[in-house]
């Protein structure tokens, strides 16, 4: 569904995305996490055909990211970060405008969604809250049959009921025979953990973590090791991301846990405890703010 090879985007000299290489299979939901300015929105803009990569290459649903931007826009449904709608326009008018661009859009289905989310279609956009504007864009996107949903902070400003409904509908669509996929950018780590099956963490435009969520959770562990002083535990173990030591006890965070991991312990060291990590813990470790 998505393939990128050293995908890079710079705005002038400012690097926004650096050498991203990844493969996302069809039917996946990729969660893009990262601090502000990490490159999440830029990635979605590149994947949605809004902007072309500066270097590297890639494709979305078989269309080239550099050359087929209009085709990409046809097969993707993008809810952009700015949630921009024309202020003097009603939701109804916007849905009709939107349907004019996408033959697969159903105005009736979008209406039904808006009714369910308690947004009056006849009201002007400038009389609506930011959450309601987000709902209009989401309703328009969900009322299509795209190959790929690109949702930039879609739950921002939404009430909990609408968020639940959004994820439920999105996962239904992803589970359909059509095999639609989704990429969503969010700051809510728990949300990504719940909805996504793949994770990409960006930090300063660089890829800090990428992979299948289950696999990531399996590989990342916090382990407690007892070792006599003078033994360099961290140097002996693979994938060590962080360590702390106190009174002969070493807490090691590893991203390379495996069943044979204990066998790599140096002589004189004893594994006392291993603990799986939630995505929040992993994320905070990766972006350098470990609790």
């Amino acid at each position: 569904m998505i393939q990128t090879d050293s995908l890079t985007k710079r705005y002038g000299r400012l690097p926004a995305l650096e050498r991203l290489t990844m493969t996302v299979p069809a039917g996946s939901v990729l969660g893009v996490l990262g601090p502000n300015g990490a490159g999440k929105t830029t990635l979605l803009r590149v994947l949605g055909g809004l902007t072309r990569p500066t270097a590297g290459n890639g494709s979305v649903v078989g269309w080239d990211l550099a050359g087929d931007t209009v085709a990409i826009r046809r097969v993707t449904a993008l809810v952009h970060e700015s949630k921009m709608l024309y202020r003097g326009m009603s939701a109804e008018a916007f849905l009709r405008l939107y349907a004019g661009f996408f033959p697969d859009a159903s105005v009736d289905a979008a209406h039904a969604l808006l009714r369910q989310w308690r947004v009056e279609p006849d009201r002007r956009v400038d009389a609506l809250s930011r959450g309601a504007r987000t709902k209009i864009l989401l309703a328009a996107a969900l009322a299509r049959r795209p190959k790929l949903f690109l949702l930039d902070e879609p739950s921002e400003g939404l009430d909990p009921n609408a968020v639940e409904d959004l994820w439920s509908r999105l996962l239904d669509r992803v589970g359909d025979d059509g095999g639609a996929g989704a990429v969503l950018s969010t700051h809510r780590v728990e949300e990504a953990e719940r909805v996504c099956d793949r994770i990409l963490v960006l930090h300063g435009g660089d890829v800090a973590l990428e992979g299948d969520l289950e696999e990531v959770r399996m590989r990342w562990r916090r382990i407690i090791i007892r070792a006599a002083s003078g033994i360099d535990v961290a140097a002996a173990l693979p994938g060590v991301v962080a360590t702390s030591s106190r009174q002969g006890l070493h807490e090691v965070t590893t991203s390379a846990w495996h069943s044979s991991y204990p066998e790599r312990l140096p002589r004189g060291a004893e594994l006392l405890e291993t603990r799986g990590m939630g995505l929040r813990e992993i994320y905070l470790t990766v972006v350098g703010h470990a609790p």
Partner: protein, 249 residues
């Protein structure tokens, strides 16, 4: 193809600024007629009247021509000021477009860049004509209402120059605001400003005269006939060039 959707989207993307531009043109033209007291503001050359014309004008004005010029000077200042306020308002559209993310909305629609460019330029050119017509209508109606004894030819010439002048300036701003990156937009705004200054100077208005812009800019007819269309062509060239390597439409 989805021409009607593109056209509707195009209209909505320029609608607000067109309303502002129309307001500016009407206020400006009204101020010109009511305060300056002569059709189209009147170029300095037109002040070099024959004794007969001067006598006719003074009879019409009910006072000396020198006083009339003084009123015109004050009126011109206000008109020029209005033009600058209007330009600033319209220029705000550039900021608004970035801030409100119109480009993001456009970017989520599958519009081929050339299609978008043609639609947008086409619509803006139509709006230009409408602005010119609005300006001309106000000036003509105003001239008739206050009974200005200006020969019909001068009315027509003033209408064309004033209408096109205002419309060009505002159109440059409108076109400039189609950019999401401000480099070219800023350059076009500068040109629009230059044109407004040139226009105000040619009409004897203070903002332009203070900078003595006429000393280094072409005369209005040359500007209207050659430079403004030249800039439009340059704009189109830059637009096409930019779209060829566009980050986004």
């Amino acid at each position: 193809m989805h021409h009607s959707a593109v056209l509707r989207h195009t209209w909505w993307s320029v609608r607000g600024r067109f309303a502002i531009a129309l307001f500016i043109v009407i206020v400006h033209a009204s101020a010109t007629v009511l305060l300056f007291g002569r059709v189209g503001g009147g170029a300095p050359e037109a002040w070099e009247m024959t004794p007969e014309d001067r006598e006719s004008a003074e009879r019409l004005l009910g006072g000396s021509y020198a006083e009339y010029l003084g009123e015109g000077w004050a009126g011109g200042q206000l008109s020029g000021l209005l033009a600058f306020v209007g330009l600033a308002l319209a220029a705000g559209g550039v900021v608004a477009e970035r801030r409100h993310g119109t480009a993001d909305l456009t970017g989520s629609f599958p519009i081929p860049p050339a299609h978008w460019l043609l639609m947008r330029c086409g619509l803006v050119l139509i709006l230009l004509v409408l602005l010119g017509v609005a300006s001309a209508a106000v000036v003509t109606i105003g001239a008739i209402a206050i009974g200005t004894a200006t020969p019909l030819g001068l009315v027509a010439a003033s209408v064309v120059l004033a209408g096109l002048g205002h419309a060009y300036a505002v159109t440059f701003v409108l076109l400039a605001s189609t950019w999401t990156r401000d480099t070219i937009g800023a350059a076009l705004l500068g040109l629009a400003l230059l044109y407004v200054l040139d226009g105000t100077a040619s009409a004897g208005w203070q903002p332009g005269l203070l900078l003595d812009i006429r000393a280094w800019s072409p005369s209005p007819p040359w500007f209207a006939i050659a430079v403004a269309p030249g800039l439009t062509v340059s704009f189109l060239f830059l637009a096409i060039r930019r779209f060829a390597t566009a980050d986004r439409p």
